[in-house]
């Protein structure tokens, strides 16, 4: 098995892939912001040392604290996880970020992840300031909610602030080996296909059940907050409409996001491929895969893959992808 992104059409991707753009900006946002946030977290947490119990409550169950550790170990564990997420996001953004979507995913992971951990550390400690016995600490429902909001909004904001890809019209003709749909000279055509993420819907149903039970049994309504976020994300992946027309490729979720657009003038070629979500993308959904391939993968099997200028590759799992790919090649070739 060759590399998953390797174009099966020889000569279609001429020369080496271009360098990843915006590396300096991406590094500044993905590393500098988390570094500042996490440093501030350590400084603030340590300045509270005199007011905090020793050990501090580090883990909470339905009935309040159920895990304890020293202040230092609690803070450094949280900051360590935050820093790891930041480095992971930075590696994705600067290593694989030829597509804006990949850069945004990386930067969002870095900033959102470090903000989530910082809020979690400081929020948990703040709830224990002035206590002699950490077991006295009440619930942290509010902290959980705050973590989700701060991490989610911060990550989304950082991702949205990243520059979009500059226009890079293709100059090379569509390879003659790429599949076509025979069209009359005046004929116009479009290919529309809906793809349903059945596993996504099944998981969403399970999430609803689990969060309802958790909130009920543990009597901690906020425990359902992260699950509610997961639920919205899952529902956003429940159904996509894939459209190929003279304007290019468009993939749109039922909720409007995520979506994906490849304008016809930047298409190098399209083809049907077979995708293994777990092996090639590490999971299902809107994903950045190995070598920076951006994918909407909601199931195993046939997928429409588009190779775009700038070393960018997009893939969407959809039935009858061969027809969509052939039509995209045909309509794209008309514009050259």
């Amino acid at each position: 098995m060759s590399a998953p992104h390797a174009p099966s059409i020889p000569g279609a991707e001429a020369g080496a892939r271009p360098p990843v753009p915006h590396k300096a900006l991406t590094t500044a946002v993905a590393l500098l912001i988390p570094a500042l946030v996490l440093t501030a977290t350590v400084v603030v947490a340590m300045s509270w040392a005199a007011e905090l119990p020793n050990p501090v409550a580090s883990h909470f169950g339905g009935d309040g604290p159920d895990g304890f550790s020293s202040l230092g170990s609690f803070v450094w564990t949280g900051v360590g996880i935050g820093a790891s997420l930041a480095v992971l996001g930075w590696v994705i953004a600067t290593g694989l970020g030829r597509a804006a979507a990949a850069r945004r995913t990386g930067v969002g992971t870095a900033v959102g992840g470090s903000l989530f951990l910082a809020t979690s550390v400081l929020g948990t400690l703040d709830a224990q300031r002035g206590l002699a016995d950490p077991a006295q600490a009440g619930g942290i429902d509010g902290v959980v909610l705050l973590c989700v909001v701060v991490g989610g909004l911060g990550g989304a904001l950082a991702a949205l602030l990243m520059p979009r890809d500059r226009p890079q019209p293709a100059t090379a003709p569509v390879p003659s080996t790429a599949a076509r749909v025979p069209l009359a000279p005046q004929e116009r055509a479009t290919w529309v296909r809906r793809v349903t993420g059945r596993s996504m819907i099944a998981v969403a149903a399970a999430v609803v059940a689990v969060s309802a039970i958790t909130a009920r049994v543990a009597d901690t309504p906020a425990a359902a907050a992260p699950l509610a976020v997961v639920l919205v994300v899952l529902l956003a992946h429940a159904q996509f409409t894939v459209t190929v027309d003279s304007r290019g490729l468009r993939v749109r979720s039922l909720l409007g996001f995520p979506r994906l657009t490849v304008p016809a003038d930047e298409v190098l070629h399209a083809e049907e491929v077979s995708v293994s979500p777990l092996r090639e993308f590490g999971g299902w959904g809107y994903r950045v895969g190995a070598s920076g391939r951006v994918g909407i993968v909601v199931r195993q099997g046939a997928a429409l893959q588009v190779t775009r200028t700038g070393g960018r590759v997009y893939v969407v799992t959809v039935d009858d992808a061969a027809t969509g790919a052939a039509l995209l090649n045909t309509l794209t070739a008309r514009t050259r």
């Binding site: 749909v181 069209l183 009359a184 000279p185 005046q186 004929e187 116009r188 055509a189 479009t190 290919w191 529309v192 296909r193 809906r194 409409t241 459209t243 027309d245 003279s246 304007r247 027809t323 039509l327």
Partner: protein, 117 residues
């Protein structure tokens, strides 16, 4: 599903779209409950007038092939699931025999049209 229209064809555009939906249902590409693209999206994709697509969809609704629902758009009717296999087999036979006889596609379709009149 693939939609194609040819403005240079003598057949009106709305009829071309309608024929493709009908053929899609008969072929089994469009199954009951399946949603067609919204008229607005299809018109934009094919760079044709919205009313052309609406006319096609209204004709399809009038003959019971699709249902037009507010908010849900055009949905392939549930009561269209006939078994078209005998028709497919008959068409294959017609194609095979007309090829064996060396008839042009135009002649064969003309004969069919005549017989269906």
């Amino acid at each position: 599903m693939l939609f194609r229209v040819d403005p240079s064809s003598p057949e009106p555009l709305f009829a071309q779209i309608g024929d493709q939906v009908r053929a899609g249902i008969v072929r089994g590409d469009l199954t009951p409950g399946m949603r067609l693209p919204s008229a607005r999206d299809l018109a934009a994709s094919l760079d044709i007038n919205l009313h052309t697509v609406l006319r096609a969809y209204q004709d399809l609704r009038d003959e019971g092939a699709i249902e037009l629902r507010r908010g849900r758009g055009a949905v392939v009717s549930a009561h269209a699931p006939h078994d078209y296999r005998p028709l497919h087999e008959a068409i294959e036979t017609v194609v095979r025999i007309s090829r064996e006889l060396g008839l042009s596609p135009e002649t064969t379709t003309a004969l069919l049209r005549e017989a269906l009149r």
